[in-house]
């Protein structure tokens, strides 16, 4: 980084990288839903995601183990066959932060997502599908944890 030219080129490259990473102010604010991720219970998280009280539905599926050997890595698959879904979310009731993940559903992907999450203790886990008109539908399953995964 000796010459000014090199520094300018580097800055431009970084700026370009930032722009492509979507760090333009408007996008950054809309991007991460802090209220939802800091919600302390299912109802609060659903409300922060723009939905009314969730109702159970057979059209939402949650695949999870009955017993998770290691609470630090519990595999989940959340899916729905409902039309008009805006996103599907994974919520773990007894975690300090209930909302674990939220996947936007676009016409380009199936409403079917898999990931692994941490569970602090045995708890009910919810797959919640939120539709474009603000309805929340869920499937829930109790997952027992033998060794909690939030550390400490």
């Amino acid at each position: 980084m000796h010459t000014r030219r090199e520094i300018l080129r580097h800055s431009a490259a970084v700026a370009g990288l930032l722009a492509t990473a979507g760090l333009l102010p408007r996008e950054a604010q809309a991007a991460w839903n802090q209220a939802a991720f800091e919600a302390k219970n299912i109802a609060e998280a659903a409300k922060a995601l723009g939905a009314s009280a969730p109702a159970e539905s057979k059209d939402v599926t949650l695949t999870a183990p009955d017993i998770a050997e290691n609470g630090a890595v519990v595999p989940f698959t959340i899916a729905t066959t409902l039309p008009n879904v805006k996103f599907v979310a994974l919520m773990i009731e007894k975690n300090p932060n209930v909302l674990a993940a939220k996947f936007d559903v676009t016409p380009a992907v199936e409403a079917n997502f898999g990931t692994r999450a941490k569970m602090g203790q045995s708890s009910d886990v919810y797959a919640v599908a939120i539709t474009n008109d603000g309805k929340a539908l869920y499937a829930k399953k109790e997952v027992k944890v033998t060794l909690g995964g939030c550390g400490g």
Binding site: F37, A72, N97, A100, A108, V109, N112, T115
Partner: protein, 103 residues
């Protein structure tokens, strides 16, 4: 970031199932280190993917996603040879993108 993402995209019928293994600590902000100080939260907050350059998937994650996160999703209308790129951004503003070809 530490290691590149491992992305496997396999054509299945008219779709492609994409599996990604990312390398990231995913600190919840709940743990304390040896001296009793809380280790600050450090986790991937956003994930997005493109198919041949077109955005197809976005997700927001919280600290509860496991360390070295796994992600699986299915892109519709993808075929062998298409490019899938996955990007993550964490709460410190760091970001990483890796690409794979559908096989």
């Amino acid at each position: 970031m530490a290691d590149p993402m491992r992305i496997r995209a396999q054509a299945s019928g008219s779709n492609a199932v994409v599996r990604v293994l990312m390398s990231h600590e995913m600190e919840t902000g709940q743990r304390k280190d040896a001296s009793g100080k809380t280790i600050p939260a450090w986790f991937i907050s956003e994930v997005s993917a493109t198919h041949n350059g077109k955005p197809v998937m976005t997700a927001e994650w919280g600290p509860a996603v496991a360390k070295n996160p796994f992600l699986q999703f299915t892109v519709k209308g993808a075929k062998a040879g298409d490019k899938i790129a996955v990007t993550w951004k964490d709460n410190k503003g760091e970001t990483r993108t890796d690409e794979a070809t559908v096989s």
